[in-house]
């Protein structure tokens, strides 16, 4: 046993798969210790906030830390306000609608360009033939330019409770900074938020844990059923074999996923917890394990050592467990790994159809994908809502499959170097 494990770790494929899998495993157990937020908490009020750190505006305004940095902030502001594209747009407008000859427009000279723009552009004029979209675009551009040009700073006013008038409390120019560490309220969403405003990273970690759980439950059940039926059919043979093969064939012919959908549909949502989904996947995924275990057992059944055991009068159970099972154990382990991997995928597929566990009780990888698609994250460019989920699913199945091929190389004499 020890030797086998040692051997396994000599396979680079197995090791790579194992490392990735362990990384995922460690993450799902360690992350919740650091970030204790409820993964289903709707933190963001809105759809798909982008990844990054969020700072409370009132904190920034209210903080007393006074750091003046000799940094010219207006340059950065001007740069975003007057990017190359924006300058091209301004030039375009001036030429088309401002009746300025092209030769008078110099996009490289920001100052004169802005002066010209301010002179000619009036957001109120309606230009015939201009679409609403283009008109709005110029209005936004104008706002951006005006914002970029502003260097008068910001004045914070407070309401005088007696007179009800606004009084100047503080004023800031562009050089006042705050240290992020001084702010009591910052929220970091490394992967942004989803359509419900839930923190995607926290949800993803929780979902991976749940999905792995579903995969393992499904894998254990499918492997146990498959193993028992396969051993029986292969070793006992005769009528039992025929019967089991018949049933197995029946289940192989009916696509197991269709069966899974039908069963899931008939189970109510409240009963469809993660364990139930795992069980459902398990009891529909066993046929191919049965078939392959059966064929392995048939080839073992007439080996000399088995016959010897039979002659010695050993019981069937003993023969199966001591003379047959050890020989196919490596195979069963590999089948188990693949069952986990396909169990995770099956959960994702089910949840995509809305037949997985319920959204309010748990997070799963499939549910995350489901809501991301429903809220068209793929068309609005909010990659963080679905891409990390796909990546995690891919990583898990990739690592499990790598481990599987690694083991195969060791145990399968035909592949052994």
């Amino acid at each position: 046993m020890k030797n086998t494990i040692k051997q396994a770790f000599h396979s680079s494929k197995f090791v790579t798969g194992f490392v990735i899998f362990m990384f995922v495993l460690v993450t799902i157990f360690v992350y919740p210790l650091i970030v204790t937020r409820d993964p289903l908490e709707m933190v963001g009020q809105g759809n798909f906030f982008k990844p990054g750190t969020y700072v409370a505006v009132s904190d920034v305004v209210g903080t007393n830390s006074n750091y003046r940095l000799n940094v010219d902030t207006s340059a950065a502001k001007l740069e975003t306000g007057l990017s190359v594209e924006n300058r091209a747009m301004m030039a375009d407008w001036l030429e088309k609608y401002g009746e300025v000859p092209a030769s008078d427009i110099d996009v490289t000279d920001a100052e004169s360009l802005v002066a010209l723009w301010n002179e000619k552009y009036d957001p109120k004029t309606v230009i015939k033939g201009m679409t609403i979209a283009v008109r709005n675009q110029y209005m936004r551009l104008n706002n951006q330019i005006q914002h970029a040009l502003k260097d008068s700073g910001v004045i914070i006013a407070e309401k005088n409770e007696e007179t009800g008038e606004l009084e100047e409390a503080k004023s800031y120019d562009g050089r006042e900074f705050v240290n992020q560490g001084d702010l009591p309220n910052t929220q970091t969403f490394l992967l942004g938020t989803d359509n419900f405003g839930r923190d995607v990273l926290t949800e993803l970690v929780a979902a991976t844990k749940v999905s792995l759980g579903v995969g393992i439950i499904a894998g254990v059940i499918a492997t146990i059923i498959g193993l028992i039926l396969g051993l029986l059919a292969g070793y006992v043979g005769g009528f039992v074999d025929n019967l089991i093969t018949f049933i197995t064939n029946l289940f192989t012919v009916i696509p197991s996923f269709v069966l899974l959908i039908l069963i899931s549909y008939s189970v109510s949502e409240s009963a469809r917890g993660t364990t139930m989904v795992g069980i459902l996947i398990g009891i529909t995924a066993w046929p191919w394990t049965t078939r392959s275990v059966r064929s392995q057992v048939i080839s073992l059944r007439n080996r000399d050592h088995v016959n010897l055991s039979k002659l010695s009068g050993h019981s069937m159970m003993r023969i199966v467990f001591t003379d047959i099972l050890p020989y196919i154990a490596s195979y069963v382990v590999m089948a188990f790994i693949l069952q986990i991997s396909s169990g995770i995928l099956a959960e994702a597929q089910l949840s995509m159809l809305g037949l997985g566990p319920s959204t309010t009780t748990t997070a799963t990888l499939g549910l995350m994908m489901n809501w991301a698609t429903q809220y068209s994250a793929h068309t609005s460019g909010t990659w963080w809502a679905y891409f990390p989920v796909i990546l995690v699913i891919a990583l898990i199945s990739f690592s499990l499959n790598l481990m599987n091929t690694g083991l195969d190389q060791i145990f399968n004499p035909q592949l052994r170097d």
């Binding site: 963001g44 009020q45 809105g46 609403i132 359509n195 419900f196 809305g354 319920s358 429903q374």
Partner: protein, 595 residues
């Protein structure tokens, strides 16, 4: 061997290539700059052109609702939800339907210029024949109409009188409902109705199922192509509306086309790419299309909520279910719900909040808000996501969790309900998930249930539900009265199949009294009093609770090909109704190609 394989590849490639080519050929026959493309209206193949059909699936032609779609068939008037006015269509210019002194007869004068597509005049006799056909053949519209309209009578070619069904006092039983047919009833030609009746040997069942592909109508468009790929209407260049007494010109697009999309996502993609001009679909974060992706897409309002909200998707409680028959339980669920979250995430910010527009019977339009006294209701409003308040309400009513499983019991039974709406109605699905979350917070088990649309329809219309999300009447001439009926009228409780409203079988005597009084009342102050009292009952008894406000139709436009769409503050009073519905159709006459 290799050669053979190569050949096979070539053949299959050619076959694959030929498919899009033929699809292109069909589409290519419509010149893009003369065609206005839609999405979000027609799902599945068109089955008939019959306004009397019980199961018509032809959204571009037949949508006889409060603001009817008048591309092919026309109504007497057009409804404008922006200013709550009726605009004449087949009716005489600048005319309004007129009641006689007793409110028993309603007179409508027709525009003498109005013509059918076969060139004959639209006369009062056609209006009479239309009403008669609906009643005689017992169409679903006719069955409803019979409650309010006794008959219609042609005085002369251009004058028609609707005789109302009268009550004991000799007045119309419901003048509002009779009026509501003015912008809703598609007028059909008498001669053509006779043709249809003849070829079906007068059998009502067969007439209702007649496909009417050879229709005679009065609208600016006529059927052109209808298959499983697309629906196309072609402009009738002899359309009577180009007369100075009506529009004075033809609508700009020569073709109106609607590709049959598989789902919302497919329609959205086409809209994004400029293959669709006018989209009637809910789009998450629509502002990203112009802010981040720089697409020529815009909505009626520049800022959130981007559209004019006129309806309220509402969670309706089944007041006959043990547990939900308790006001405390209903109120607690309504109080604990995070509406701000629903509006921000489920509705993607495309709705005003309940802090901006407090809960009442009214939709957020200025016209309706003026008909309720919000100050008088202020004490009855609940804060957003008031979990503590909700828990207090339940505790006070003695509905507690006595067996320690985290779920409260009523009469020894765990409070456990299903919240239902159709699968794939994304914003409603997400909203109900947030309601389920509220249940979790206050110890009531609410699970979401998203069946297919027909199961859902069946469930709510027959009362087989616990909590259902449904949307009541939007803006129309009979509103807010009709919406108030939809919320609370117990007159629907005896119907075995009920599509009219109050699906939860709520009963309140005072509400019924008020609802009966409103149709006869014309004094605005009294009406305001009535509506305020009704709103009070709704907030106190919570037979249902609005989850968000929502536009009657979504209206987003892509200006890749066409421009000149209505927008807020453009000086016209054309409502954002997809350029097709009610007075919204006026937009078609202002469209121009983008240069």
């Amino acid at each position: 061997m290799k050669k053979k394989a190569l050949l096979a590849v070539a053949v299959s490639a050619a076959m694959a290539a030929s498919l899009p080519v033929s699809a292109l050929a069909a589409e290519g026959s419509l010149p893009r700059n003369e065609t206005l493309y839609f999405s979000g209206q027609q799902w599945g193949t068109v089955n008939d052109y019959n306004p009397m059909s019980p199961n018509s699936n032809n959204a571009m032609v037949i949508a006889a609702n409060d603001a009817a779609r008048t591309l092919v068939y026309e109504t007497l008037y057009m409804w404008n939800p922006l200013n709550s006015q009726l605009y004449p269509l087949l009716a005489a210019p600048d005319s309004q339907p007129e009641w006689d002194e007793n409110q028993a007869n309603l007179t409508v004068t027709l525009n003498p210029d109005a013509k059918w597509s076969d060139g004959t005049q639209v006369t009062a006799a056609d209006v009479v024949a239309t009403v008669k056909a609906h009643m005689d053949y017992e169409t679903s519209a006719g069955a409803d109409m019979k409650n309010y309209i006794e008959s219609a009578e042609a005085i002369d070619d251009t004058t028609v009188v609707f005789h109302a069904v009268l009550n004991e006092e000799g007045k119309a039983v419901n003048p509002l409902m009779l009026m509501s047919y003015m912008p809703k009833l598609y007028i059909m030609q008498e001669a053509y109705l006779n043709t249809v009746a003849e070829r079906n040997n007068g059998s009502a069942e067969d007439i209702k199922l007649d496909r009417m592909e050879d229709l005679v109508a009065s609208g600016p468009y006529k059927p052109y192509i209808a298959n499983d790929q697309q629906v196309v209407l072609e402009r009738d260049d002899n359309y009577w509306g180009q007369a100075e007494s009506m529009w004075g010109s033809l609508p700009a697009p020569k073709y109106i086309a609607h590709t049959i999309f598989k789902d919302n996502a497919a329609g959205d993609t086409a809209f994004k790419q400029g293959e669709v001009d006018v989209s009637q679909q809910f789009t998450t974060d629509i502002q990203k299309y112009w802010e981040e992706q720089g697409l020529p897409i815009s909505t009626y309002l520049l800022e959130p909520p981007y559209g004019i909200c006129m309806t309220m998707p509402t969670m309706v409680f089944n007041t006959e279910i043990p547990g939900l028959d308790q006001v405390a339980v209903r109120k607690a669920i309504a109080m604990a719900t995070d509406y701000d979250q629903i509006i921000a995430s489920a509705m993607s910010g495309q709705s005003p909040s309940f802090a901006d527009v407090p809960r009442s019977i009214m939709n957020p339009t200025d016209g309706e808000q003026a008909m309720v006294d919000n100050d008088a209701l202020a004490d009855l409003q609940w804060a957003n996501k008031d979990v503590e308040g909700a828990i207090a309400v339940l505790d006070e009513a003695g509905i507690v969790d006595s067996d320690g499983d985290g779920i409260r019991e009523y009469n020894g039974e765990n409070l456990s309900f299903k919240a239902e709406c159709p699968q794939g109605w994304t914003d409603w699905n997400a909203a109900l998930e947030i309601v389920a979350q509220a249940g979790k917070d206050i110890g009531i088990n609410i699970e979401t249930y998203f069946p297919d649309a027909s199961t859902y329809t069946d469930d709510y219309s027959t009362g087989k539900f616990d909590i259902v999300c449904a949307s009541g009447p939007g803006s129309s001439i009979a509103n807010p009265w009709q919406r108030a009926m939809w919320f609370m009228s117990s007159t629907y409780n005896t119907l075995s199949v009920n599509f009219s409203g109050n699906f939860g079988h709520f009963t309140n005597e005072r509400a019924d009294e008020l609802l009966a009084l409103i149709p006869y009342e014309s004094d605005e102050a009294t009406l305001k009093e009535y509506y305020t009292e009704l709103s009070k009952i709704m907030l106190e008894e919570v037979p249902c609770a609005a989850l968000m406000y929502r536009p009657q139709v979504f209206h987003a436009v892509n200006e890749s090909v066409w421009t000149g769409y209505p927008m807020d503050g453009d000086g016209t009073d054309i409502p954002p109704m997809d350029c097709t519905d009610g007075y919204g159709i006026a937009a078609l006459y202002n469209l121009v190609n983008v240069e």
